[in-house]
C-alpha cells in the first residue's frame, strides 16, 4: 500500500478526535474567514502527525520496556525522547532522521531480520503502524518540543504553552462591545453575539413568535408545556415586560427546581440503587434529590451549593441541609458482597475523584490516574493530590437529620421506651445473640485472612485507613444481621415472632425514628496517607490543586473536632472568586442547558481535547457577573433568557448563507430546534393528557406512577424503558450532555406500547371532557392548543378531520363485541418477559380460571413469582392464588401474604386451608403462618407443597427465594397442619384474589403461576425447573406465547375474561385515540424551537 494514502486513510479512520476537532474548527475557520489556503502548515502538520500518530504507537508498543517512566531500558534503549532514539541503545542509533533504511527501529519493526524483531514475541505492529513510523523517520523524525516526553511529565514539564491554555487564565474583564446602530440587542449579552455575527456578515434571526417563545420558555425553565390558558394570558399581555413577567413567574415556580435538578443529578450520577447485581434500593437517597430541587428553587448561591456537597459536614456541622448535601459523596456504586475491600474502597475514591474533577473543574482527570495526562498539563500526582482531599472519608448511615433539640427529645422518649421494654428486649437478645454471632462469623470468614484480622481488631488500635476498610467490610456483617429473623426457623423463630409481637404493643410509646440520610464524615482528624499506586517510593501525597495552578500543597487549617478539614479547604479553593474554572464551567453548563450547546461545547472538558470557546469574552463576562452577583443562578437565567439572542426564531431568512458559513450554528444565528429530553417527553405527555400529579418531593415512586420523572426511582439496572430508548443518563458516571438518538425502537415504543396507548386514550378522554360541543373541529383546535400551544390552521383542522373520518371508517369495519379489558403486564425485576400487574379497584384486580376437575382435590403444590407493592392496612390477606370462596364452611385453600392487622405478623406468607375437618368450630379455617417475610418491592419465588394426610411437620412445606440476590439460599419452612381432607372446592381458581369480590386482593406483580397435583420435591420446583410435568395441572405464564390468558399445559384451563369489561369503544372514540396518539408522536410535540 502506498504510504501517503494510507496515512490519509488512517487519519480519517483512527482516533480521529484531534482531527475531528481541528477539522471542524478548521471548517469554521476556513468558511468564516473565507480563506482557501491549506491550514496544514508544515510545522503544525509535523507536530500533529507526531502527537496523533507516532506518539500513540510508541506509547502503546514500546515504552513499557524502553522508557524512564517504566524504569525499563531494555537493550539500553529509551524511546521517550528523540535523543533517546538517536543516541540509541546497545546496538547503535535506533533512528537516523530522514533515513528509514538506516534506522534500526524501522528494521526491527519490519521483522525482516530474525534477530531484531520489535515488539518481540510475534507482537508485530500492524502494517499501517509500520508505514506510519517509516513515514515519520523519512520526514525527519520531528519530535516537537511541546510534545514532551512520551507519557510522562514532571513539574518542570508544564510548559509556558500549557500555562497559556485559555481555561487556566484568570477571568478577563471584557467590556461590552459597542455596536453602532444596534437596535437588536436587548441586554448586555447580545452585543457579544452580534459582534461575532457581524464579523461573518451574518444577521441574527428575527424574534421568535410569541407562541414559540412561550413554549420554549416553559420547557426550558420548568420542563413542561404551557397550558392554553398560559398562552392566551401571555398573548393578552401586550406590555413590554410581558416576557420578563413570564420568566420571573417561571423562575419562581416550584417546578423550575424539579426540571433543573435533573441536569445536576446527571452530573453527580445520582441514583437510588447500588448498581451491582443485587442493585439494592437506597431508601434514603431521595433526600439528596429533594435537596438539589430545593437548592435550585431557593436560588442557593452556587458557591454555597458546591461547598455543602463537598464539605457540608465540615462547614455546617449538624445543619440538615448540609448533611443531606454530602450525599454527593455517596452516589458511587457499591457491591454488597465484594470480599476485596481494598479494591472496592479504591474504586470508590477514584469514582469520587473522577466525578469531582468532571463536575466542578470541567477537566477529565481520569487519564491521570495511571499516568501524566498525555494532552493536558495534568500530572499523575495531581490526580492523587485531588484524591487526598477525599481520602479521609467515612460513609455514614447513622447520622440523622435533626436539630440537637430534636435529637435530645428523641433520646429522651427512646430512653423511656427502652426502660419499659427492657425485659422483653433482653429476652429477644438471648434468642438472637447466638444466631447473630453465627451470622457474623459466616460473613467475616468469607474475607481473606488480612481483612478478617482488620475486622476483629479493636477500633482503637486501627489506623485510619484500617478503620475505613474494616467499616466497609463490616457492612457485609450487618447485612447478615438485617436478615437474621427471616433466616431463622423452628421454635426460636416462633418465640421471637411472639416476642416481637409483644414488643409491638409498645410501639405507640416509641418515638418516630429520626429521618435517615446518606451522609459522610471524615474518619477522624488524621488522614490516611495517600500514595501513587506502585510509586509509594515517591512518598505521601499531600492534598493539593492542579500543579499548574498552584504547585504548593493545599493549606489545611489544623483539624477541628473529628475532621481533617481537607474537603472544606477544597471547597474554599474551588469557590474563590478568582478560580478560573469553577465559575466558567458552571456558566457554560447553564448556557448549554439553554441553547443545547455550551459556549464551550465540551462542557465537562475544558482541556486540550475539548473545544475552545466560541465566544471567549462572553464566557468570561458572564462568569464574572455570575460571581459578582453572588453566584446566583436565577440572575444568570434572567440575563440569558431576556436577551435577544435567546429570543430568536428557529428560522432565519438568510439561513442558506449562514448554513454555509456556520453549519453548526455556533455563532447563534438562529434558535436550534431541539428534541425534548427523555424526562421532558414523559412529563410533557402526562401533562398534556391531564394525568400528571403535581405532588412534589418524597421517596421515589415506580415509573408507572404519573408523577414527574424526577420523582421516579432511579434504579440503575432497571430503568424506565422510555428513558432507556430516549438517551436518559445511565447514572453510573457523571454525564454533562445527553446524546440525541433516533431509533426505530423509540418509534415502536411510542406508537405500539400499552403505555402510549393508555396516554392517548387519556388524552382523548380529556378532549371529550373539555369539549363544549361535539364539533370535531373545536376538539382538534383544543388538541393543538394543549399539545402545541397554538391555534391550528384551517388546513390542519381539515386534515385532522379527514383523518378522524377515515380512521373511524376503518375501525367500524372491524368493530366487534365489546372486549375484555386489555391485559396489564409489566416486567418483574430480575425476571424476564411479562408479569400480570394486579391492582385493587382496577380493571385487572384478579384473574379467574373456571373450576375444572383436574384441580387439586387432595395433595398439591402451588407456586408463583410475586412482587408485592403493598400489604393491606387491616387483616385482609394479599392473595396470590386461591381456590376458595373465602366463606367459612366452604372448602378450599388460599395462599397469600398477611396484612398489617394480622394476628401473626404482617408481610408473612400464609396458607389457609378450609376442609371438612374444621380446625376448631370457632375458627373453621386453618391459617398456616410460614414465618417467611416478604419485603415490598422485591421479587420472590414462593411455593407451598401440601401433603394433606401427612400430619407430621412434613405436611406443609413453604418455600421463598429472593430473586434479587443469587447468593440468598431458598428458604424452607415445614409446618404441621390439621386439615387433612375435604379441601376440594368448586370455586374457580383465582390469581390475585379469591372467589369473592373486592376482598383479599393482591397488589403488585404475579408471574408464572403453576399448580401441580402432588407435593413436589424441592428439586422440581419452578424456581429451578421451568416447564411442566405430568403432575402439572395448570401453568399460566402471561406471555404472548401461547397467549397471555392461556394455560401453557392446556389442561388447567384458560383465564376467563378479566373481571371488569373494557368499556366499548365506538369507532369515533377509537379514531380520536388514534388522533391523540399521532399528536403525541409528532415532531412538533417532541421538539421545541
Amino acid at each position: 500500500m502506498p504510504i501517503l494514502p494510507l496515512h490519509v486513510r488512517r487519519m480519517a479512520a483512527s482516533s480521529g478526535l484531534r482531527l475531528r476537532r481541528s477539522a471542524s474548527a478548521r471548517l469554521l475557520a476556513v468558511s468564516l474567514a473565507g480563506l482557501a489556503t491549506s491550514a496544514w502548515a508544515d510545522e503544525t502538520g509535523d507536530k500533529e502527525f507526531f502527537v496523533q500518530k507516532i506518539q500513540p504507537i510508541l506509547n502503546d508498543h514500546c515504552t513499557k520496556c524502553h522508557s524512564h517512566e517504566a524504569n525499563k531500558m531494555k537493550g539500553g534503549l529509551v524511546v521517550d525522547s528523540i535523543s533517546g532514539l538517536t543516541t540509541g541503545g546497545d546496538s547503535g542509533p535506533a533512528v537516523v532522521p530522514g533515513d528509514p533504511e538506516k534506522s534500526l527501529l524501522i528494521e526491527a519493526i519490519r521483522y525482516h531480520n530474525d534477530d531484531l524483531q520489535m515488539p518481540p514475541k510475534g507482537k508485530k505492529l500492524a502494517d499501517a503502524d509500520i508505514a506510519l513510523l517509516t513515514e515519520w523517520v523519512k520526514r525527519g523524525a520531528v519530535w516537537p518540543e511541546t510534545a514532551g516526553k512520551t507519557a510522562t511529565r514532571g513539574a518542570s514539564k508544564i510548559t509556558d504553552e500549557d500555562r497559556k491554555w485559555w481555561s487556566f487564565q484568570p477571568l478577563a474583564r471584557p467590556t461590552v462591545p459597542r455596536i453602532e446602530g444596534d437596535t437588536w440587542s436587548r441586554n448586555d449579552l447580545d452585543p457579544f453575539i452580534l459582534t461575532r455575527l457581524q464579523k461573518e456578515e451574518l444577521q441574527p434571526a428575527p424574534p421568535a413568535s410569541r407562541a414559540a417563545l412561550l413554549r420554549r420558555l416553559y420547557f426550558n425553565l420548568i420542563g413542561l408545556p404551557p397550558s392554553p390558558e398560559a398562552v392566551q394570558a401571555f398573548d393578552a399581555d401586550t406590555s413590554e415586560t410581558a416576557v420578563e413577567k413570564v420568566v420571573d413567574q417561571l423562575l419562581a415556580d416550584p417546578r423550575y427546581g424539579e426540571h433543573w435538578a435533573v441536569y445536576w443529578l446527571d452530573l453527580v450520577r445520582y441514583a437510588e440503587s447500588d448498581g451491582y447485581r443485587i442493585d439494592d434500593y437506597r431508601p434514603q437517597a431521595w433526600r439528596y434529590r429533594d435537596y438539589v430541587i430545593r437548592a435550585f428553587n431557593e436560588d442557593k448561591p452556587y458557591n454555597r451549593f458546591v461547598a455543602e456537597q463537598l464539605a457540608g459536614d465540615e462547614i455546617a456541622g449538624n445543619d440538615p441541609d448540609a448533611r443531606t448535601a454530602t450525599g454527593y459523596l455517596r452516589h458511587w456504586i457499591y457491591e454488597y458482597n465484594n470480599r476485596d475491600v481494598i479494591t472496592q474502597w479504591t474504586n470508590i475514591l477514584n469514582d469520587i475523584t473522577d466525578t469531582t474533577s468532571d463536575v466542578f473543574l470541567g477537566l477529565g482527570l481520569q487519564c491521570a490516574r495511571c499516568h501524566d495526562h498525555k494532552f493536558d498539563p495534568i500530572l499523575q500526582k495531581d490526580y492523587y493530590r485531588l484524591q487526598a482531599f477525599f481520602a479521609p472519608l467515612l460513609p455514614r448511615d447513622d447520622l440523622k437529620l435533626a436539630t440537637p433539640e430534636q435529637e435530645a427529645t428523641y433520646r429522651e422518649q427512646l430512653a423511656s421506651w427502652e426502660a419499659k421494654t427492657a425485659e422483653l428486649r433482653a429476652q429477644i437478645e438471648v434468642i438472637e445473640a447466638p444466631h447473630r454471632e453465627k451470622a457474623a462469623e459466616g460473613a467475616i470468614t468469607k474475607f481473606p485472612p488480612e481483612t478478617q484480622e482488620l475486622i476483629r481488631k479493636p477500633v482503637a488500635e486501627r489506623t485510619p485507613y484500617e478503620h475505613q476498610l474494616a467499616e466497609l467490610a463490616y457492612r457485609q456483617v450487618t447485612y447478615e444481621y438485617d436478615r437474621l429473623v427471616n433466616r431463622m426457623k423452628g421454635p426460636d423463630k416462633d418465640k421471637l415472632v411472639a416476642l416481637y409481637k409483644q414488643l409491638g404493643t409498645f410501639d405507640k410509646e416509641k418515638p418516630a425514628p429520626l429521618p435517615e440520610v446518606l451522609a459522610v464524615s471524615d474518619v477522624g482528624p488524621k488522614a490516611p496517607p495517600v500514595t501513587i499506586p506502585r510509586k509509594a517510593a515517591l512518598g505521601e501525597i499531600e492534598p493539593g490543586f492542579l500543579t499548574l495552578l498552584d504547585e504548593k500543597p493545599a493549606e489545611i487549617p489544623d483539624p477541628e473536632g473529628n475532621s481533617t478539614g481537607r474537603r472544606k479547604a477544597l471547597a474554599e479553593w474551588l469557590t474563590q472568586p478568582e478560580n478560573p474554572l469553577t465559575s466558567r464551567v458552571m456558566v457554560n453548563r447553564m448556557w448549554q442547558y439553554h441553547f443545547g450547546r455550551g459556549l464551550v461545547s465540551t462542557s465537562s472538558d475544558f482541556g486540550k481535547l475539548g473545544e475552545t470557546p466560541s465566544h471567549p469574552e462572553l464566557l468570561d463576562w458572564l462568569a464574572r457577573r455570575f460571581v459578582e452577583e453572588g453566584w446566583s443562578l436565577k440572575k444568570l437565567h434572567r440575563q440569558i433568557l431576556l436577551s435577544a439572542t435567546y429570543q430568536q426564531a428557529a428560522q432565519n431568512p438568510m439561513a442558506e448563507i449562514a448554513r454555509v458559513k456556520d453549519p453548526e450554528n455556533r455563532l447563534l444565528w438562529r434558535a436550534n430546534t431541539r428534541r425534548l429530553e427523555a424526562e421532558q417527553i414523559r412529563d410533557a405527555i402526562l401533562a398534556t393528557t391531564g394525568e400528571l400529579e403535581t405532588a412534589s418531593g418524597g421517596a421515589g415512586v415506580d415509573f408507572t406512577q404519573p408523577r414527574r420523572t424526577v420523582y421516579t426511582k432511579v434504579i440503575r439496572n432497571t430503568r424506565d424503558p422510555l428513558l432507556e430508548v430516549f438517551d436518559g443518563a445511565d447514572r453510573f458516571a457523571s454525564a454533562s450532555q445527553r446524546n440525541t438518538t433516533t431509533t426505530p425502537t423509540q418509534s415502536l415504543l411510542m406508537i405500539n406500547s400499552p403505555w402510549s396507548q393508555q396516554r392517548a386514550t387519556a388524552f382523548a378522554q380529556l378532549l371529550k371532557k373539555d369539549a363544549s360541543s361535539s364539533d370535531p373541529q373545536a376538539m382538534v383546535t383544543d388538541a393543538f392548543w394543549k399539545a402545541y400551544a397554538r391555534e391550528p390552521s384551517q388546513a390542519e383542522r381539515d386534515g385532522a378531520q379527514a383523518f378522524l373520518e377515515r380512521q373511524a371508517s376503518l375501525v367500524s369495519l372491524k368493530q366487534e363485541e365489546p372486549k375484555a379489558a386489555p391485559f396489564v403486564g409489566e416486567k418483574m425485576p430480575f425476571r424476564d418477559g411479562r408479569a400480570a400487574l394486579l391492582t385493587p379497584k382496577s380493571t385487572q384486580e384478579r384473574l379467574s380460571i373456571p373450576a375444572n376437575t383436574l384441580f387439586p382435590t387432595e395433595d398439591f403444590t402451588v407456586e408463583a413469582f410475586v412482587m408485592l407493592k403493598s400489604v393491606s392496612e387491616g387483616a385482609d390477606v394479599r392473595t396470590i392464588v386461591s381456590q376458595w370462596s373465602g366463606k367459612k364452611g366452604h372448602p378450599g385453600w388460599s395462599l397469600g401474604v398477611t396484612g398489617k392487622g394480622s394476628r401473626y405478623k404482617p408481610q408473612t406468607l400464609v396458607l389457609q386451608l378450609s376442609g371438612d375437618q374444621a380446625w376448631t368450630p370457632q375458627d373453621p379455617v386453618e391459617p398456616l403462618f410460614s414465618g417467611l417475610h416478604l419485603e415490598l418491592g422485591k421479587p420472590y419465588y414462593v411455593g407451598v407443597t401440601v401433603d394433606l394426610d401427612e400430619t407430621s411437620e412434613k405436611g406443609v412445606t413453604f418455600y421463598a427465594k429472593d430473586l434479587s440476590n443469587d447468593d440468598e439460599p431458598i428458604q424452607t419452612v415445614q409446618l404441621k397442619h390439621s386439615v387433612t381432607s375435604g379441601i376440594r372446592s368448586e370455586a374457580p381458581l383465582v390469581i390475585g384474589g379469591r372467589d369473592e369480590a373486592g376482598k383479599h386482593l393482591f397488589d403488585g406483580l404475579i408471574d408464572d403461576v403453576r399448580i401441580s397435583r402432588v407435593p413436589l420435591p424441592q428439586s422440581q420446583l419452578l424456581v429451578d425447573r421451568e416447564g411442566t410435568s405430568e403432575h402439572t395441572v395448570g401453568y399460566w405464564r402471561f406471555e404472548a406465547e401461547p397467549g397471555v390468558y392461556r394455560d401453557s399445559t392446556s389442561r388447567g384451563g384458560d383465564i376467563a375474561a378479566a373481571m371488569i369489561q373494557a368499556p366499548k369503544m365506538d369507532p369515533t372514540t377509537s379514531a380520536w385515540v388514534d388522533f391523540c396518539q399521532v399528536i403525541l408522536n409528532s415532531n412538533e410535540f417532541l421538539y421545541v424551537d
Binding site: 478526535l17 475531528r20 465484594n338 477537566l363 454555509v660 453510573f732 383523518f803 369495519l813 443469587d966 404472548a1040
Partner: protein, 487 residues
C-alpha cells in the same frame, strides 16, 4: 444519532445533522465537498450518496479498518462461570492432590466465598482427545467434541472481577465497573449492520431469570442508545412493542403512520434539520421491522433434520437449541452481533454439587452448540461467523461446600471457532491445578482485541471521544492474539 461517517467512521460524536445539512444544502458547496473529499479520501459523490442513505439509519454498514475475517459474531455466554478443569482443561495433578489444601507456592488468592483454604476437588470426568487435532475434552461435551477441529480452545483467559456482576460486566464491556459500552455496541459503532430492518446487535436468553446486571450488559454506555443491544424473544413478539396493539388493524396502523408522516413533513419543511427527517424515517423503519422481524424468528420453515441437529426434539436441549437456531437465522439475515445467554441468572455458578449442576447445563448446551457449528458450516456461514463460547470466569480447583467450586477469574477457558479462527488448536495454559493462567495469558482486553481484529477493527483505532477522553473498547489495553488465525 445521525451517522457521522462523512468525516470519520469512528470519530467523536457530535450534532452532525447540522454539518450534514450543510453538505446537503450548501449553496456554494464546492469547498465543503472538496474538504470532505480531502478528509475522507473518497469521491465526493459517494459522500453525498452516503449522506442521503444515512438519513435512513445511523447503522448502515461501515468500512472496517482492514479486511475482516469475520462479518458477524455469535457469542455463546455461559453465565455463571463454567468449570475449565471439568470441561476443556484436564488437570491430572488436581486429582492427585485432591483433598489437600492449595500448596503455598500458589500464593495469595482472594475468592468470592473465601474458599482459598478449602481442599482441592478432583474432577470426576473422563477425558479424551478428539478430532485430527486431538483437542482434549471431557465426557461432558460429546457433541462439541465432534467439532474439535473447528475450535481454538483458549485455556489462558484472565479477568479481573471476582464476583458475577463485575465479571459479566467486564466480559461484556471490558471494565468491571458499570457504565461502558458493550463489545456489541462497539462493533455496531464501528461497523454498522447489514440489515437495516433488524436490530444490528441482538441478545437472547434462555430462561426467565435476569442475566446478572440486566440490560446494561448490552447497553451502549456513554455512546448513543442507537448502538445498544436489543433483547429479542423467539415468540410472536420478538422485539418489545413490535406488534401493533391488540385490536388495531394494519389499515388503522398505516393510517396513523400516514397522518403522522403528514404532520411531521409540514413541521420539518420550515426547519430544515435532518434530525427531523431521521425521525420521520425511523417510523418507516419501525414499520419495516414489524414486517421482517417475525419472519426472522419463525422456525416453522426449518426442516426436521435441522431441528433435530439443534436438539429441538428433546426437552432438555430444545430451549438453547432454539436460541442457537435463531442465532443462525439472524446472522444469515445480516445481524452483526448476536449474544446468546445460556444459564441466565448465574445458573453455571456451581458453588455446590457441581456434578449435578454441570451435568444438567452441559446436556442443555452441548448439542445445540455443536448443531450451530455444523449448521453454519454446512451453509458456508462459519467462515464469516465468529462463534465464541465461554463465561465471565472459570472455577477454582479448590472445593466449596465439599462438592462445588468457587469463582476463578485468574485462569479459565473459552473457545472460538469460525470467522477466520484456525481450528484444532489449544492456546495457552494454566498451572498444574488450573488456578492461574501461565502461558500466553489472554486478558479480557486481549480477547476483545482479538474479536475486534477478526472483525477488521483495530482496538486502538476504534475511538469514541467522551468528555475529552479518547475512549477505546479495550480501555487502551489489549492486543489482538493473531495466532488464533494461524498467523
Amino acid at each position: 444519532m445521525p451517522d457521522d461517517s462523512i468525516f470519520n467512521p469512528c470519530g467523536r460524536q457530535e450534532k452532525v445533522f447540522n454539518r450534514r445539512d450543510f453538505l446537503a444544502r450548501a449553496g456554494g458547496g464546492f469547498g465543503a465537498l472538496a474538504l470532505a473529499h480531502l478528509l475522507q479520501g473518497t469521491a465526493a459523490g459517494n459522500t453525498l450518496l452516503e449522506e442521503k442513505r444515512s438519513l435512513n439509519s445511523p447503522l448502515l454498514p461501515r468500512k472496517p479498518h482492514f479486511a475482516p475475517k469475520a462479518k458477524s459474531v455469535i457469542f455463546l455466554f455461559m453465565e455463571g462461570g463454567p468449570s475449565q478443569m471439568d470441561l476443556l482443561d484436564p488437570k491430572p495433578k488436581l486429582n492427585e492432590l485432591a483433598g489437600q489444601p492449595l500448596p503455598d507456592s500458589f500464593g495469595k488468592v482472594i475468592t468470592a466465598m473465601g474458599e482459598a483454604r478449602s481442599p482441592l476437588l478432583a474432577s470426576k470426568r473422563s477425558w479424551k482427545q478428539h478430532g485430527e487435532s486431538g483437542l482434549w475434552m471431557s465426557d461432558w461435551l460429546p457433541h462439541t467434541a465432534s467439532c474439535a477441529d473447528d475450535l481454538a480452545v483458549i485455556r489462558s483467559c484472565v479477568a479481573d472481577g471476582i464476583n458475577h456482576s463485575a465479571g459479566v460486566c467486564q466480559m461484556n464491556t471490558g471494565s468491571i465497573l458499570a457504565g461502558r459500552p458493550s463489545l456489541g455496541s462497539w462493533v455496531s459503532y464501528g461497523l454498522g449492520t447489514e440489515n437495516q430492518n433488524l436490530p444490528g446487535f441482538v441478545v437472547i436468553q434462555d430462561n426467565a431469570s435476569t442475566v446478572v446486571n440486566g440490560p446494561r450488559n448490552w447497553g451502549s454506555g456513554f455512546m448513543p442508545a442507537v448502538y445498544q443491544g436489543t433483547r429479542i424473544q423467539g415468540s410472536s413478539e420478538p422485539i418489545p412493542h413490535l406488534n401493533t396493539p391488540d385490536g388495531i388493524t394494519q389499515e388503522q396502523h398505516r393510517g396513523k403512520l400516514d397522518f403522522l408522516n403528514q404532520l411531521n413533513r409540514e413541521h420539518a419543511a420550515t426547519r430544515m434539520q435532518s434530525e427531523l427527517e431521521a425521525r420521520i424515517a425511523s417510523y418507516e423503519l419501525a414499520f419495516r421491522m414489524q414486517a421482517e422481524a417475525p419472519e426472522a424468528v419463525d422456525l416453522t420453515k426449518e426442516t426436521d433434520a435441522t431441528r433435530s441437529l439443534y436438539g429441538l426434539d428433546e426437552k432438555e436441549t430444545a430451549p438453547f437449541g432454539t436460541m442457537c437456531l435463531l442465532g443462525r437465522r439472524l446472522v444469515e439475515r445480516g445481524v452483526r452481533f448476536v449474544q446468546l445467554y445460556h444459564g441466565s441468572g448465574s445458573k453455571w455458578d456451581a458453588h455446590d454439587n457441581i456434578e449435578q449442576n454441570h451435568s444438567k447445563l452441559c446436556k442443555q448446551m452441548d448439542q445445540p452448540v455443536a448443531g450451530l457449528l455444523k449448521d453454519l458450516k454446512s451453509r458456508g456461514l462459519l467462515d464469516s461467523t465468529l462463534v465464541i463460547w465461554g463465561g465471565e470466569f472459570g472455577r477454582t480447583p479448590m472445593s466449596e461446600k465439599g462438592n462445588g467450586r468457587d469463582h476463578n477469574p485468574t485462569g479459565f477457558t473459552m473457545w472460538m471457532a469460525g470467522g477466520g479462527v484456525k481450528g484444532g488448536q489449544t492456546i495457552g495454559s494454566t498451572d498444574e491445578l488450573g488456578l492461574h493462567a501461565v502461558e500466553d495469558r489472554l486478558h479480557v482486553h486481549d480477547l476483545h482485541a482479538t474479536i475486534l481484529w477478526l472483525m477488521g477493527l483495530d482496538n486502538m483505532d476504534l475511538v469514541y471521544n467522551y468528555k475529552g477522553r479518547p475512549e477505546r473498547p479495550t480501555l487502551n489495553e489489549g492486543d489482538a492474539y493473531r495466532k488464533i488465525a494461524g498467523l
